[in-house]
Subunit: 316 residues, 2 copies
């Protein structure tokens, strides 16, 4: 067995981790409840206990480093700073990891980890300039420039989800107005459905479902059946995502956008239309050049992303 | 006399050029009409003739390279591609320069040249991550990431002026709708004045001036006198610029924005207000960090920018 990274993806509900080789093979993998109300030390102590179990079989000297993807994780400071879904406050996560695992450790946020995963193991392998957009409950992004992740001066670059698309627009959970993730995300899609039910008089199966029970999966299934509100909700989502991709593209000139996360599974409703709107909002010398692609990581992209982070750093 | 670069800034009306040393001193300088309807070869032949004159005194072997800032100039291809204000079509400018001056040559667009000028000789000297915004007839920008200009995959990165701020908004000269430069530029300011004269019923000296005669300087002077329409036009400009700076900042996490160009001279009406709106549109972990600064190049920033381009390349 080759050398490996312990790669950890910290989620609000579950934390997934595995041992990942340099070529992106996951040797062993497990998931435990995060227990968001407990401390960070508690979580990583439990992971340290888990990886002593038989399925992991860590051999002396084979574990080279730890890579972690976590909300609000700052690559530069090594700290997780007040993550919205975890009761950790601000903690020095890299120190906790080194204390627990006795190897070098790096951390970054989930979307940045995804971008590094695509760069090393996924759909970004053939590109030096691309942008990963994670379309889940919210919208995250990671920007790769000349083969390197763009961290920027504060370590938090790539917050496409909070770029303002309409400053008279929807209230966002961050306190601002008109943030892209209030429109282009699983929750944004549901908000669009609600607005459209008010604006339009067309019949829709969605009118018989309480707001709280509408999910992006339901909207997707109804759209495939031809429901007009569901179809228009996807078109509107693609429109705003297309405008935003054009905006980001004219600033950074990428070769491709890579869409991942749950909502990106609705590819037949989202990819072509987003591309159409992106092209409409590009100036001439950017048109016809930029690809829109699905993730190239089949299983466990979040764990592979965290692994990619550590592999990139350890090979410098 | 030290070694120097022949630095050339090609404008729609005049072309300015000079000899610039490594520390940003301009030894000799001249300006000739561009004659936009003639060819590129014609222009650079005339410059070659000019620099044989006494004031330039080019000594054998002292001219190391040529750097050119020109509209639609592509650093990668060495070509100028259909510049909107010049009748050149697409020309291989680097080849023309090498044929004419027999030294290495590099080209880029005006805003990128400005960014490199600030990086080497101006307000960007102390930063590794910043964005230069040129506020003239239009709006250009150049993005510096980790001490390097961001060209992106096609060489055209940094087109902040055509990022869409309102997709139901004003028609832009590029054919699209709602581009930032339709609002935040000398012409954009005048368009805002016209819109506000329609929307408001307040008295204003601007109501007695034909649209064609309203300039950004006039609006600036009236604003200083307290004219309500002129003041509101500047506030609106600052608002949209602030939102856009926040958007760009959350993507690239710069240390500073540097505003240059004619409209940036209205600093007392633009800088503080832009900063206020930028802060309002940033998420928490970006607030209170990003400076808004005037250009640090006192004389001839365009020529210094073109020189910076060549100095950076020749020193690689």
């Amino acid at each position: 067995m080759n050398d490996y990274i312990l790669a950890i993806d910290v989620g609000g509900t579950n934390t997934v981790f595995g041992l990942v080789s340099k070529d992106g093979k996951i040797f062993a993998e497990a998931s435990i409840p995060t227990h968001a109300e407990r401390t960070a030390v508690d979580l990583f102590k439990r992971i340290a206990t888990e990886i002593k179990k038989d399925i992991f079989q860590i051999e002396e000297g084979k574990l080279l480093a730890v890579g972690v993807g976590a909300p609000n994780a700052n690559f530069y400071s090594g700290k997780v700073e007040n993550p919205p879904n975890l009761g950790w406050g601000t903690v020095d996560l890299v120190k906790i990891l080194k204390d627990q695992f006795h190897v070098p450790a790096w951390i970054t946020n989930d979307a940045n980890a995804s971008a590094l995963g695509e760069l090393l193991f996924g759909a970004g392998k053939d590109f030096k300039n691309f942008i990963v957009v994670t379309l889940g409950t919210g919208l995250g992004s990671g920007v790769v420039v000349d083969g390197e992740l763009l961290y920027g001066s504060n370590g938090f670059a790539g917050e496409m989800g909070h770029m303002c698309i309409d400053f008279h627009g929807r209230k966002c959970t961050c306190g601002k107005r008109g943030c892209l993730e209030g429109y282009v995300s699983a929750t944004g899609l549901v908000r669009t459905v609600a607005e459209l039910m008010g604006k339009r008089i067309t019949a829709s199966k969605l009118r018989s479902v309480p707001y709280d029970a509408i999910t992006s999966e339901l909207v997707y299934n109804y759209a495939l059946e031809g429901d007009p509100i569901a179809l228009e909700a996807f078109e509107y989502t693609a429109h705003l995502l297309g405008v935003s991709c054009a905006n980001v593209a004219m600033l950074t000139a990428p070769e491709a956008f890579i869409f991942c996360g749950g909502l990106a599974n609705a590819s037949e409703l989202l990819f072509e239309q987003t591309k159409k709107y992106m092209e409409m909002h590009l100036i001439e010398n950017f048109r016809g050049q930029i690809k829109i692609l699905p993730s190239g990581m089949d299983n466990n992209p979040a764990v592979l992303g965290a692994a990619a982070l550590a592999w990139m750093e350890i090979n410098r």
